[in-house]
């Protein structure tokens, strides 16, 4: 079993989001970057699968050298090796093309991504990648078991769950609940130092989109406090003033 896990390097969830250069660039000053939380789940599940039935887990990232701490962390958590495609991740299309180019030469049985990157909230790389490789894709999975070359998964659907079975190879994208993330231990951190981290250059430079600017949401006008002993007024305000009920 050869599993590829796609890792996006994202700002920590507590980051206060600001922009520079006339609101055209995300301000990374003082920002801590982490492995995208969904990708961490995908990685852990991949390790659980290969630990049980044998195989290898490769972590892949499309990013510049500043993403290496997160990539190293995947090795410390347990990935066998890692690949960094040396480019600024422009958009989901670009990222998927780069990963597809690499995956074509390697024949992975299973490719896992996260449900979405928590920075750009695209949720698109998995589907794009699967189409580029000509293999099936199942998104927002909350469980995956593999037996005799067939994956059985549960995925979220609007208002419920769907059980899906699919012959390998395929691309699946991890939703919360897939598993619990693992914290690297000392042995893992030591071992990571000697594990291979390959840097490969980009193929092609198709551009499909460009982010031209950012904006922060307008600040709220301030909270209107309702005295506790007149709490029932809330319903009146929501009905007559806010007109939402």
């Amino acid at each position: 079993m050869k599993i590829l896990v796609c890792i996006s390097n994202v700002p920590d969830t507590t980051t206060k989001v600001t922009f520079t250069d006339n609101n055209t660039k995300f301000n990374t000053a003082g920002v801590q970057f982490i492995i995208n939380p969904y990708d961490e789940l995908a990685l852990t599940r991949a390790l659980e699968i290969t630990e049980k039935q044998g195989g290898t887990v490769t972590a892949i990232n499309v990013g510049l050298a500043d993403a290496e701490p997160s990539i190293r962390k995947t090795l410390a958590i347990g990935a066998n090796d890692a690949v960094r495609i040396n480019a600024e991740p422009q958009d989901a299309y670009f990222v998927a093309e780069q990963i597809a180019a690499y995956a074509k030469s390697e024949q992975f049985d299973l490719i896992l991504t996260g449900r979405e990157s928590i920075d750009y909230n695209g949720g698109l790389v998995g589907g794009l990648l699967a189409e580029m490789l000509g293999i099936p894709s199942v998104n927002v999975i909350t469980s995956i078991e593999i037996e005799n070359g067939v994956a059985t998964m549960e995925r979220d659907i609007d208002g419920g769950k769907e059980k899906v079975s699919c012959k390998l190879p395929l691309v699946a994208s991890a939703q919360k609940e897939l598993t619990e993330p693992r914290i690297p231990n000392m042995r893992g951190i030591m071992a990571a130092r000697t594990k291979p981290l390959k840097v490969v250059e980009v193929t092609g430079d198709l551009k499909t989109s460009a982010t031209v600017g950012f904006e922060l949401p307008a600040a709220k006008g301030g909270v209107k406090l309702i005295p506790a002993d007149q709490a029932e007024l809330l319903i009146d305000l929501l009905h007559n003033e806010a007109k939402v009920i």
Binding site: L124, G127, D158, G160, S165, G213, F214, I226, A228, I245
Partner: protein, 323 residues
Amino acid sequence: MILVYAESIDGNFKKSTFEAVSFAAGIAQTNGVHCVAVSIGHVEDAKLAELANYGADKVVAVNSSKLAAFNAEAYAKAFANVAAAEGATIVVVSNTYSGKAVAGRVAAKLKAGIASGVISIPNTSNGFVVRKTVFSGKAFADVNLTTAIKVLAITPNTFDTHTFGKTANLTTADGGLSDADFISNSVEISRVTGKIPLTEAELVVSAGRGMKGPEHWGIIEELAQVLGAATACSKPVSDMHWRPHSEHVGQTGITIKPNLYIAIGISGAIQHLAGVSSSKVIVAINKDPEAPFFKAADYGIVADAFDVLPKILEAAKKLKAAN
């Protein structure tokens, strides 16, 4: 020509589908082109005809027994084939789980630039720019799609539906599918019935660790039921299994954008707010006047939830009885 994916569930269109059709029809009208809606899987003709009311000039139904259950590869192929046959330049889908599963594959097939989580109509004064939410609602990004064909996954509950009152022009297409396009199989679907799915809800009543334990959720559920709202919760609440994971909202849970979000006994941590801050009206009920949620809220009550909830529930019942 603008093509829109008319997503259906068990043969029914959802409100988000009508929003997508109206969105597409609006752009088509501005550009003096046609809006074509594509339905995949079984939907009755009378329901297909409704899409014309929301703005579709033509409705293409792709249906076969194999398409009864959702399948990302087959649905995307059928949809992309119709897009190519109709000469679509803009493709619209709803930013739902299944909508996005199709959207990415369609974009790759059509070599189209794609934006998801779209919350604006395209601005074509300088390129083709759409606004989308990023950083889980903490900011917006303006994205210029530079390809000949563009795919937009639009956020539900963001655009109004419009009735265009067009007469339905129903056609069918076979989608160009073969057995090889059905590799993944839907084995079983379980939907929570009798409850409003959180992702579609316009009103949401949500509670956090301040509720002390799962045994106290009765009043939360009752308030939600009276208001016709869905229920949600904070991450620790679902982590402790007080509530199902499907109710967890926030940065690592579901991102929602209802008209009303009532947060009861939730502190308002940045990761929680990330998933709910785009709600139109926010109410915070918390006994701590310093709780960060009050900074993000439109209405607030500083009180013990156990004291004020019965009064609020009573008032909600009265309002509903009177209307």
